[in-house]
C-alpha cells in the first residue's frame, strides 16, 4: 500500500486545466513535455526539468516530508530513509525517466544530487 500513493501522486497529466477564474497558463515545462520533438538531436532534458521531476518523485514518496526536500538532500542522512527506501526511490526515478540503471550504479545513488547528475548526464533520459 505504500507504493500506491507514491505512484499515484507522481503521475502527471499535461493538459489544460480551467480554473474558476479562467484558464491559467501552466508552467513552461509542461508545454515542453507535451511538445514531442521527433528528432533525437536536441531533445535533451534541461537541468531545471530534471531537478523539478526528480524533486516531485522524491516528494511524493509517502515516507518523505515534502518540505524537507531540496536538490541536495541525502536520502538516508537528511530524510531519514532506509536503504530499501532508497532502492524504491531509485526505481521510481527509473520509471519516471524511462531509464534502465544498472544495479551497481543504482546502488550508488544516495542523494538527490547524485540522482540529478546521473539523469542529466544520461543520453537516454526521457
Amino acid at each position: 500500500m505504500a507504493m500506491r500513493a507514491f505512484v499515484l501522486r507522481h503521475i502527471q497529466l499535461p493538459g489544460q486545466t480551467l480554473t474558476a477564474t479562467g484558464s491559467k497558463p501552466h508552467p513552461q515545462w509542461y508545454l515542453r513535455a507535451s511538445l514531442r520533438l521527433f528528432s533525437s538531436h536536441d531533445d535533451h532534458l534541461t537541468k531545471e526539468e530534471v531537478i523539478d521531476r526528480v524533486l516531485d518523485v522524491v516528494k511524493s514518496f509517502p515516507k518523505v516530508d515534502p518540505s524537507k526536500v531540496t536538490p541536495d538532500v541525502h536520502f538516508q542522512k537528511d530524510l531519514g530513509l532506509d536503504s530499501l527506501d532508497n532502492v524504491e526511490i531509485v526505481m521510481g526515478l527509473e520509471e519516471e525517466f524511462k531509464l534502465e540503471i544498472p544495479d551497481k550504479e543504482a546502488d550508488r545513488i544516495d542523494s538527490c544530487n547524485l540522482a540529478i547528475e546521473y539523469i542529466y548526464n544520461h543520453p537516454m533520459a526521457g
Partner: protein, 117 residues
Amino acid sequence: MSGATTAAYLARRAAQKERVRILYRRALKDTLNWAVHRHLFYQDASDLREKFEANRHVEDLDTIDKLVAAGEATYDKWRHPDPYIVPWAPGGSKFTRNPVPPSGIEIVYDYGRENND
C-alpha cells in the same frame, strides 16, 4: 564471536547489505513484471517489503548469509520469462538497432552520377 567492529566484520556486513539491496531491487522489478496492474503491484510490493522487514534485525553473519542465499534462490525461481526491459537497454527491442557507423567511413552523395560526365 567475531570481534564486534573489526574491519573484516564491517566489510562483510557492508557486502551483505549490498547484496540485500540488489536483491530487493531485482525482486521489486520482477514483481512489477509479474503484477502489471498497479493495484496488484502495490499489494505484492508491500508483501515483499514485509518479508524483508521481518529479517531486519538479524545480527549473526552466517544467518544473514543463509537468508540472502535463500532470498536469491526464491528470486531465481520466480523470475519472469519475458521481463520488461527498456527498449534501448541490453536485452530490449531497440538495443543496437541503429549502431553508430564505424569511424573513417564517409558517405559520398553523388546521386548516381557517372564518371563519364
